[in-house]
Every structure is written in structure tokens, then in C-alpha cells.
């Protein structure tokens, strides 16, 4: 019997804490080890070198763009997956989530054979004067490809938690489906959408394999921060470690933001108890 600080029974055996602590150390220890290797006197010059700043700027810009793309395509996808019923829905969900488990290099190759010069769409795009592979656009596409599932998963969960009852009431009050989406559905799942967007941004920021395969590593064009770190590691370990720490700092900030959002999600979903309006008895 264990009593949590809030006074409720939680039933966690003592030994679970020990294993959990080992798990936490497994994540924290490498970060600490890396931080210990940082050449602190040289930290600022290393991080603010021209190539580093270019890479960081490119990373932030492309991640912002791919997050926007994730929202544009992910919101409709999540709505379709959470709200409608159709044949092949499970299959669609599986394919949308595939990039989560696919090695990013494979994603990069797949994108190359789609948008590359000899690719499925690439040939037509090339005829129209558009070259995507090995451009900044390719970076954004590669990041969107790997980050989209994060947004779809969090938003679909938020939509299912929110339920359809508010939407049903809104419809009986005379609201068109687009009005319901704009004034009811989206506001209700805003916390879930925000945390999904933050996760997508974080995933985009860390993207390496698909980017390298599909977009290459051209300084200022496609060499994002992870690629820059990998490159520096060959020649200047100190710079690689310093830049890694910058990436860790950005990631921690983003994750911190997500957790604050999660608190709000809990409050919003607590306001929707029970289920009656969907026609069930």
C-alpha cells in the first residue's frame, strides 16, 4: 500500500521506482556526459560560427514551415480518421503512421523516387520548371514526411476525447459543418492541436536521415543543424558537442512547452463527461 501526496491510493510497488529511476538515468546520463565534454571557454565562438548560425537558422525556418504543412494536412487527416467511418480507414491510419516506424533513410529514398528528377511526380514538376530534390523545399518535405504522424496522432486522440456531442448540439442549433469545425471542434481540441504541432516541430528539428538522403547537405540550402553536427564531428569534435547542446536546449524548451499544454488538455477534456448524443441508448 502506497499513499501518494494527494492522498489517493496509486498501487505502485516500491521496486517500480527503482526500475523507473534506472530508466530515467539511461536518458539523463548521456546528456550529462555530453555536457561534461563541452569546451566551455570556446562555447560561444563555436556556437556562433557562421556555419553554425546558418545551420541553426535554416533548421528553425524549415521546421516552422514543415510544422505549418503538418497542420494544413494533419488536421483534415485527423478529422477524417477520428470522425468518419469508411472502408480502409484502418489501412489509411496505418499508412499515415508508417513514418513513425520507418527508418528515415527509407523515407528519404521514397521521397527521392517521388519528387526526385527521375521520380514519379518529379518528371512532371521538372517539366514545369520546378526542381525539388536537393533544395530547401526538399528539406521541408522530408521533415513534414516524418513529423506528420505526430500531429495526426495527438490530434486524433484529442478529437476522440472531446467526443462528438458538442458538435451534434451545434448542428441542431443550425450551424453548418464548416461553422461547427471553426467555432466548436477546433477550439475544443486546441490544446491537443498545439501539443501535436510542438511535437511535429521538435521532430522536424531533429530530422537527419530523410533530409540527408533526399535533400543532401549544402551549406545554407539544405544543411540543417543535425547535418552540421554530423559533419563537424569528423573535423571538430568540440563544435559538434557545443552544437549538440544547443539542439538539446531547443528540444528541452519545446518539450517543456508541450507539457504545459498537456495540463490544459486535461482541463478541457474534463468538461465533457458521458456520452448520449451520438444516438446510443
Amino acid at each position: 500500500m502506497q499513499q501518494s501526496r494527494a492522498g489517493g491510493y496509486h498501487g505502485i510497488p516500491c521496486w517500480i521506482y527503482a526500475v523507473a529511476a534506472a530508466g530515467a538515468l539511461f536518458v539523463l546520463l548521456p546528456l550529462a556526459a555530453m555536457a561534461a565534454r563541452v569546451n566551455w571557454p570556446q562555447f560561444i565562438p563555436l556556437v556562433t560560427s557562421e556555419s553554425s548560425l546558418t545551420a541553426l537558422g535554416l533548421s528553425l525556418r524549415t521546421s516552422a514551415a514543415s510544422t505549418a504543412l503538418c497542420i494544413v494536412f494533419g488536421v483534415p487527416l485527423a478529422l477524417v480518421l477520428a470522425r468518419s467511418r469508411f472502408r480502409g480507414q484502418q489501412l489509411l491510419r496505418a499508412f499515415v503512421l508508417l513514418p513513425l516506424v520507418l527508418p528515415p533513410v527509407v523515407g528519404g529514398i521514397a521521397l527521392l523516387y517521388t519528387f526526385g528528377r527521375q521520380g514519379l511526380l518529379g518528371r512532371s514538376l521538372e517539366a514545369a520548371g520546378l526542381q525539388i530534390a536537393f533544395s530547401t523545399t526538399a528539406v521541408v518535405l522530408a521533415q513534414t514526411f516524418v513529423a506528420l504522424p505526430f500531429l495526426v496522432v495527438s490530434l486524433e486522440g484529442a478529437l476522440r476525447t472531446a467526443g462528438e456531442r458538442f458538435e451534434a448540439v451545434a448542428a441542431t442549433l443550425g450551424a453548418r459543418p464548416t461553422t461547427v469545425l471553426r467555432r466548436v471542434t477546433v477550439p475544443l481540441v486546441l490544446p491537443g492541436l498545439a501539443s501535436g504541432a510542438v511535437l511535429s516541430f521538435a521532430r522536424s528539428l531533429g530530422e537527419f536521415g530523410a533530409t540527408l538522403t533526399f535533400a543532401g547537405s549544402l551549406q545554407g540550402v539544405t544543411r540543417t543543424l543535425p547535418l552540421e553536427i554530423y559533419l563537424q564531428r569528423e573535423t571538430d569534435a568540440d563544435a559538434a558537442v557545443a552544437l549538440s547542446l544547443v539542439l538539446v536546449a531547443v528540444a528541452v524548451t519545446v518539450v517543456g512547452l508541450t507539457y504545459r499544454r498537456h495540463g490544459q488538455t486535461g482541463r478541457a477534456s474534463a468538461a465533457s463527461p458521458g456520452a448520449r448524443l451520438d444516438g446510443r441508448q
Binding site: F166, A168, T172, G174, P187, A268, L277, Q281
Partner: protein, 348 residues
């Protein structure tokens, strides 16, 4: 309207006059909520058709396939829970219907203020739903439904989730707003049916088992469910000259109810009598004209200041003293004796 939903064994036909309120009663799972969902357009029936004032809500009869989307129906729904949009203030919740109909923001808010005042919630406009009590929230929900100017109001047990202090206030409010309005209200409460509805229909197993003016259904129930609502004992059978004969061959003497349409012998009929008209004896008491049934006591329970004795599918009310004198316990064989004059017999 007429509709069937095969998967739920639902087959119901219903007509409402303008300004008429119908109460829908019935056991859980009888299809009451299905009925409202079908009318509101949240559930697509397998067949049937419905219209309001010439506007076709749906027509899914052979060959036809007309379906009006919920937002074009003008059938506002008020559920057990208020379901106020949590991200909008009470005022914006009420203004939602008019805004959706294209009314400018300012006009919609004025109309919302008017409706909030009409439900005695004028001072709650700025509050968020989370800051309202259950009764307040449900009143705001009533205002929101009315502000949408619906042609028909659908109420799904609007009082069920309220505490006993908030319910009477809302009932009075609904009585005011439902007067002269076309509405369907699902309720488990006889009081709601009596106070709010002109007519009552009883749904059992997806079919209407009884329909009629509220008072008549409660006074002369034909279904076990309605008899239970009005607290009457009900024995079904076929009409005879002196009363009815049950399927098991038991004779029940009673008087033909003069208010009900007279029935011919051999026709299905019911005998109804209140538990207070039943006397309990240990021995068979003779004396005419009386009914005496040998029954086995199944349950005893407190009912007001009386003890309700349940036996043989009937109930009898006796005083606690009489119960003690008789030494009543479940499993005991007793005689239920009812004067024929207390038994109303009418065609089912």
C-alpha cells in the same frame, strides 16, 4: 413522421400538431433517444419519412432518398447534460444559434441577452460554463436552444442530471417556454408528463405500446409500463360480461369504465385497480361482489407511510400495523381481495 431502424428493432410513427408537446416515456433501451436522434438528423433510419410543416426532414421510403442535414432542420436538442460549449461564455453560447443563422454579432448578442433574461439567467451572461451550477447551466442551455428559434424542441430527460432543488425551477421554466411550442420531451417522471405535455406516448422495445392524452394514459393505462407509472395494478385478458378473463383462465370482476369506449365480450381488455384498494387476508374471504386471488408474497417495501406488498405481479398497500398483525414475510401465501367496484375494466 414514420421511421424504422433495423439494427435497433426501432419502428415508430408519430404526428405532432403545431404547438403540441408530446412526452415520450418507456423503459431504458426502448428507443426513446433513438427517436430524438432520428428527428434531429443525428441518426439515419433505414426507412421512413418525416416532415415539419411541409419541409421534408427525410424520405427514405422505397425509391426515395431525401435527407435534410441536421443544421437545416430547425430541431434544437436539449440533452440531459447542458453541453454548453466550454470555450464560450454563457452569452456566446446562447448567441451561437443566431450567429450560425447569419445574424450579425451585435444583434445575436442582443437576442441572447433577451433569452438569458427569459430563463432568469440574465446575470450569468459573462460566465464560463465551468463557473455555472448544474441548474444554471441547464437554464442557459434552454435559452441557447430557444434562441436558435427552432420549429421543434427535442428534450432528452432535461431534468435527469439536476439535483432535487434545481429540477422544480427548471420544470416551471420549461412549462412556460413549452406552452404553444412543438416539442418532444423524453422523461421518466410522471410529473413532467403531466405538467409539460399534452400527450404521452409509451415506447417499449422500439414500438409505441400506448399513446393518448397524458391524463387518460395515466388514469386508464393499457401497458404495464404506463400502469407502473401511475402506480396501478394492471391485469390483461379478454373482456367478459362481468369483467375480464386472463390467459390463465382467472376471472376478474369489475365495472366497465364508462369514460372509456365500451368493449364487446371476447375483445382484449385490461382490469386496473390501485394498490390501496387491495386488502390482504390470510384466509380466503367470501362475499360478493369481490375478487380474491391466492398469491405468494415476493417483496415487502416501505411506500410512503404504508407497506407495499408485492405478490403475483400485483401490489397491495397495507398499514405497518396490519402487516405486523398478519406477520407478512416474502414466500408467504396470502389472499389479495379487491372489491369489484374498485376494479376498472376497459378494452386494451
Amino acid at each position: 413522421m414514420q421511421a424504422t431502424v433495423d439494427a435497433r428493432g426501432f419502428d415508430v410513427g408519430l404526428e405532432l400538431g403545431p404547438g403540441e408537446t408530446v412526452a415520450v416515456m418507456g423503459p431504458n433501451g426502448a428507443g426513446k433517444s433513438t427517436l430524438l436522434s432520428v428527428i434531429a438528423g443525428l441518426l439515419r433510419p433505414d426507412s421512413g419519412r418525416a416532415e415539419i410543416d411541409g419541409k421534408v426532414l427525410f424520405n427514405l421510403d422505397a425509391g426515395a432518398s431525401v435527407w435534410t442535414a441536421p443544421h437545416h432542420r430547425g430541431t434544437a436538442l436539449l440533452a440531459q447534460e447542458p453541453l454548453l460549449f466550454p470555450h464560450l461564455s454563457a452569452l456566446e453560447n446562447v448567441a451561437f444559434g443566431p450567429r450560425s443563422a447569419g445574424t450579425p454579432k451585435k444583434t445575436a448578442r442582443e437576442s441572447a441577452r433577451k433569452w438569458l433574461a427569459a430563463v432568469d439567467a440574465g446575470e450569468l451572461g459573462a460566465r464560463r460554463p465551468a463557473e455555472l451550477s448544474g441548474g444554471q447551466a441547464q437554464r442557459v442551455a434552454v435559452a441557447r436552444a430557444l434562441a436558435a428559434n427552432p420549429e421543434m424542441l427535442l428534450l432528452d430527460e432535461p431534468m435527469a442530471a439536476l439535483d432535487i432543488h434545481a429540477a422544480p425551477l427548471l420544470r416551471r421554466l420549461l412549462k412556460k417556454v413549452l406552452a404553444g411550442r412543438r416539442a418532444v420531451i423524453i422523461t421518466h417522471d410522471v410529473l413532467d408528463a403531466l405538467m409539460l405535455a399534452d400527450r404521452v406516448i409509451v415506447l417499449e422495445g422500439g414500438r409505441i405500446t400506448e399513446a393518448g392524452p397524458t391524463r387518460q394514459v395515466l388514469q386508464r393505462p393499457r401497458s404495464r409500463f404506463a400502469a407502473g407509472l401511475s402506480g396501478l395494478n394492471l391485469i390483461p385478458g379478454t373482456l367478459t360480461a362481468a369483467g375480464i378473463r386472463t390467459a390463465e383462465g382467472m376471472e376478474v370482476a369489475g365495472h366497465q369504465d364508462e369514460e372509456a369506449a365500451p368493449g364487446d365480450a371476447g375483445q382484449p381488455g385490461v382490469a386496473a385497480f390501485p394498490p390501496s384498494a387491495v386488502s390482504v387476508f390470510l384466509n380466503d374471504a367470501h362475499g360478493s361482489p369481490r375478487n380474491s386471488f391466492r398469491v405468494t408474497v415476493t417483496d415487502l417495501e416501505q411506500h410512503g407511510d404504508q407497506i407495499r406488498v408485492r405478490a403475483g405481479g400485483m401490489s397491495a398497500d397495507v398499514t405497518p400495523a396490519a402487516s405486523a398483525d398478519l406477520g407478512l414475510v416474502p414466500g408467504m401465501d396470502v389472499y389479495f381481495v379487491i372489491k369489484a367496484a374498485a376494479v376498472a375494466v376497459y378494452p386494451a
